[in-house]
Symmetry: C2
Subunit: 415 residues, 2 copies
C-alpha cells in the first residue's frame, strides 16, 4: 500500500487543462466565483468526477460534493477539498491544485481497485477567494453554519449581481441542503503563496495553525469642492486623508516584526471624477499577526493613528471591523498524520502557520481538518505567474492520498 502513488503526469495534465479555462495572456487564470468561466471549470470537474464513477451533489450555495462509494456507505466520508475560483488575475495553482489533487486521489484508488471502508469525497467550495463576493470562504462558512444560506445567497458583486442570480446563471443553484452533511475528516492541499518552503528547500508544510487576521473598512469623510478655485487651505480632501491612512496601515504592518502583515488592497472613492475634490474614500484593510497579543497592539496602534489624523486633518476617519478569523489550530492528530505521511514518503517537511484563509479553516469547526502546502516559486501567488513545480504538485497529492487512506481505511485492493 505504501507503494501506491498518484499519476504525476495525469495530475499535471488535468491541472493545466483546468487552467486553460479563463486563461490570461500572461499565463494565469481569471475565473471569478460563479462567472461563466467558473461555471465551465465546475462542469469540467463534474464530468471528470463522473468519469471516475462519482455521484455528484450540489448544495444551495453551489458547493459540489463528488462521492466515491465506501464499503460501508453509511459512514461519514473522508473529504478532500478546495476551490476553482480565482482572483481577477490569478494563477493556475491556487485552489485548483487542491481540487485536482483530490480528484487524482480518486482516480488512483480506481486504478488500483482500492475499496475504502468510508466513502471518499472531493469538495469544490464556492467563492473561496472573496474577490467577487465578500467575505472569503463563503461556501464553507455557509456549510458550517457560520453564515445563513440566505446571507450567502444575498451577497452582491460590484455590479449588483447576487450569489443567488449568479448560481442560477451557471446552473449551480443546487437542491441539497447546506451543511448537515456528515464529514469524517477533511484534508486540503494548497500552494504556499509565500517563500518559506522554497527558502528552505522543503517540499511539504504541515499547517498547524493560523495567524490572526482582522478586516476593516476605514471611511474617510472629507468635503466635496471644486478642484480649481478652492484654496488648498480650505480643503478637506478625502483622497489625501485616505493616502495618509494607507501609509499608517502600511506602517503598522511593518512595525511588529516579521510576523506582522497589513494591507489596503481595495479602495472606493466618491465621486472619483476629475473635477471634484473627493468627498469620501472607503479603504478596505486588514492586519495580521501570529500572536494574539500583538494583533491587539496593532489594532490599537492603527486606531490611535487614525484618531491623530482626524485631529490633524479635520476629517472623519471611521474604522469598522467587518470580519476576523484566527488564531486557530488545526487538529493535532491530523497534523501528526500528515507529518508522518510526508516523512514516510521521504519529503522534506516543516510545520507552518498560515497567514491566508483556506476552506480548511472553517472546517475545523465541524470536523477534524488538516492542511498541507507545497512550494510556490518566488513565494508568489495571486499573480498570473504563480507556479509550483510538477514534483511538488505530485508530492502534495501523494501526501493527501496516503493520509486520506489512513482515515478512510483500505478494505480491499492495493495490498
Amino acid at each position: 500500500m505504501k507503494n501506491l502513488s498518484i499519476d504525476a503526469e495525469r495530475l499535471w495534465d488535468s491541472l493545466m487543462e483546468m487552467g486553460k479555462i479563463g486563461e490570461t495572456p500572461a499565463g494565469g487564470s481569471r475565473r471569478l466565483a460563479l462567472s461563466r468561466e467558473d461555471g465551465e471549470a465546475r462542469d469540467l470537474f463534474v464530468r471528470w468526477a463522473e468519469d471516475a464513477g462519482c455521484t455528484i451533489t450540489v448544495d444551495r450555495v453551489g458547493n459540489i460534493f463528488a462521492r466515491r462509494q465506501g464499503a460501508d456507505d453509511s459512514l461519514a466520508p473522508v473529504c478532500i477539498g478546495s476551490h476553482l475560483d480565482t482572483v481577477p488575475t490569478g494563477g493556475k495553482f491556487d485552489g485548483v491544485f487542491g481540487v485536482m489533487a483530490g480528484l487524482e486521489v480518486l482516480r488512483t484508488l480506481n486504478d488500483a481497485d482500492v475499496q475504502t471502508r468510508t466513502p471518499v469525497e472531493v469538495i469544490v467550495w464556492t467563492n473561496e477567494e472573496g474577490a467577487r463576493y465578500s467575505p472569503v470562504t463563503l461556501g464553507s462558512l455557509a456549510f458550517i453554519g457560520e453564515h445563513s444560506v440566505e446571507y450567502a445567497l444575498d451577497r452582491v458583486d460590484v455590479d449588483g449581481i447576487s450569489v443567488r442570480e449568479a448560481l442560477a446563471d451557471i446552473g449551480y443553484d443546487g437542491p441539497a441542503e447546506v451543511g448537515n452533511r456528515p464529514i469524517g475528516a477533511y484534508f486540503e492541499a494548497h500552494n504556499e503563496q509565500g517563500p518559506v518552503l522554497e527558502e528552505h528547500g522543503e517540499t511539504i508544510a504541515v499547517v498547524t495553525g493560523s495567524y490572526s487576521s482582522r478586516y476593516f473598512v476605514i471611511t474617510v469623510q472629507g468635503m466635496a469642492a471644486h478642484v480649481g478655485p478652492t484654496p488648498m487651505a480650505r480643503r478637506k480632501d478625502a483622497m489625501v486623508g485616505a493616502a495618509r491612512a494607507v501609509l499608517e496601515i502600511n506602517r503598522v504592518g511593518n512595525a511588529y516584526g516579521e510576523d506582522g502583515r497589513s494591507n489596503a488592497p481595495h479602495i472606493e472613492v466618491y465621486p472619483n471624477v476629475r473635477g471634484v475634490i473627493p468627498d469620501e474614500v472607503r479603504v478596505s484593510c486588514d492586519l495580521r499577526h501570529r500572536e494574539q497579543a500583538t494583533i491587539d497592539e496593532m489594532e490599537a496602534d492603527l486606531r490611535s493613528a487614525l484618531a491623530d489624523l482626524e485631529e490633524e486633518l479635520g476629517m472623519g476617519f471611521v474604522l469598522e471591523s467587518y470580519f476576523a478569523w484566527g488564531p486557530m489550530s488545526f487538529d493535532p492528530e491530523l497534523s501528526e498524520l500528515l507529518r508522518n505521511t510526508a516523512q514516510d514518503l521521504g519529503y522534506a517537511h516543516r510545520d507552518l502557520q498560515i497567514i491566508a484563509g483556506h476552506d480548511a479553516v472553517p472546517m475545523t469547526e465541524i470536523t477534524q481538518s488538516g492542511l498541507i502546502l507545497i512550494p510556490s516559486r518566488d513565494g508568489l501567488s495571486h499573480n498570473e505567474t504563480e507556479y509550483s513545480a510538477p514534483e511538488h504538485v505530485a508530492a502534495g497529492a501523494n501526501v493527501l492520498l496516503h493520509a486520506a487512506l489512513a482515515k478512510a481505511e483500505i478494505v480491499a485492493g492495493a495490498d
Copy 2:
C-alpha cells in the same frame, strides 16, 4: 435702455425648476453629460427657448444654439453660453446659471420688444464638466476645432458608452456641422466656485485670464501578490506607492504660495480586490498656478519627487501629461465692457483670474470672449449645497444683458 432689467424672480424660478431635474436628496443635482437627466434638461431648455421665439440648431456633438433673430440676420450673433451637465453630486448653479441667465436675457428682450442689430444666441455646450467624458469642455473644444468631431464622438465613459451612443440615446445627435458657425462675441456668466467675492463682499468678478492647469496620469507599477503570506519586505504594493504619490501631489500644491493648486481626485486600482496586493494604480492629477514660471517649477518638483519614489520603493512611477490649458487672457475690450457694465449697474466688482475651466476659455480662440462670476456661498461648488444668492444671480444676468446689448446694438425698442 439703462433701466432695462431682467426679471429676477422668473430667472430664479427657472433656475430652481431646472435644478429639479436629477435633484439629489441633499438638494443638489446629478445630471451627468448626455444622461437621461441631461436629456430632460436639454428638452426643457429647448421648450423654453422655442417659447421665447428662438430657432434651435443642434450640432453633431450635441451643442445647442437657440437663436433670437437680429435686424440684420446675416450678421454674426452675439452669444451667451454655458452648460447643463453636472458632476455626480453637483449643485444647482454651476453651468445652469449661465444658461438660464442667457435665456432670461432673451426673455427680457422679448418683453421690452427690443430688436437688436445682430442675432443673439444662447448656447448649451456638451460635457463641460468632464465628469462623464474626459476631457472637460468637450463640446466647445470640438466647436473650435481643437478636437476632431470623431475624437469627441468616440470618447467613452466608465461603462464603455460612447458620446456617439449617448447622444443618440437622448436624441441630441444633431445634424448641424460642428464649428464653422460665425460668432460675433461670446459671453458667459458662472458662479465663482471659490471664496474671493464672498470674502470681499463683492457681486461681480470680471475674469481677465486664467491660471495654468496641467493634467497628468501617474501609473504606479507594483507587483501582484497574496495579501497574507507575502512578507512585507518582499512587497511592491502599488497602493502604498500611490498613497506616497498622492501626498507628493498635495505637497507640491501647497509649496508654491496661495496661488498653487494640486489635486488627485480620480484613482483606478488593479485588481482592487481584498485578497491581492495591488499590481497597478493609476492616479489622475493636476497642478495649477497663476504664474507660468511657477507651474514649470511645480511640474519639475513633482517629476523629481516621483523619480525619488521610484528609487526608494523599487516600483515604477510614470507621469503622462494628457491635457493642459492656460495661462490665457480674455479679450481686454470685452473685459473692459463687462467691468464698465458692472460699474454702471452699481455692482461692486473686481478683476479675477479663473482656476477652473469654462467654455469661455476655448471660445477665446475663435472670437471675442468675456466671462463674469458671481459669489458662491462659502466658496463652495461641485457640492450639492452649492448656493448663490438670488440678488447675485440677478446681478450676473443684468451684466450679461447690458454687455450683450452693447455688442448686439439696439435698433428698436426700450429707449
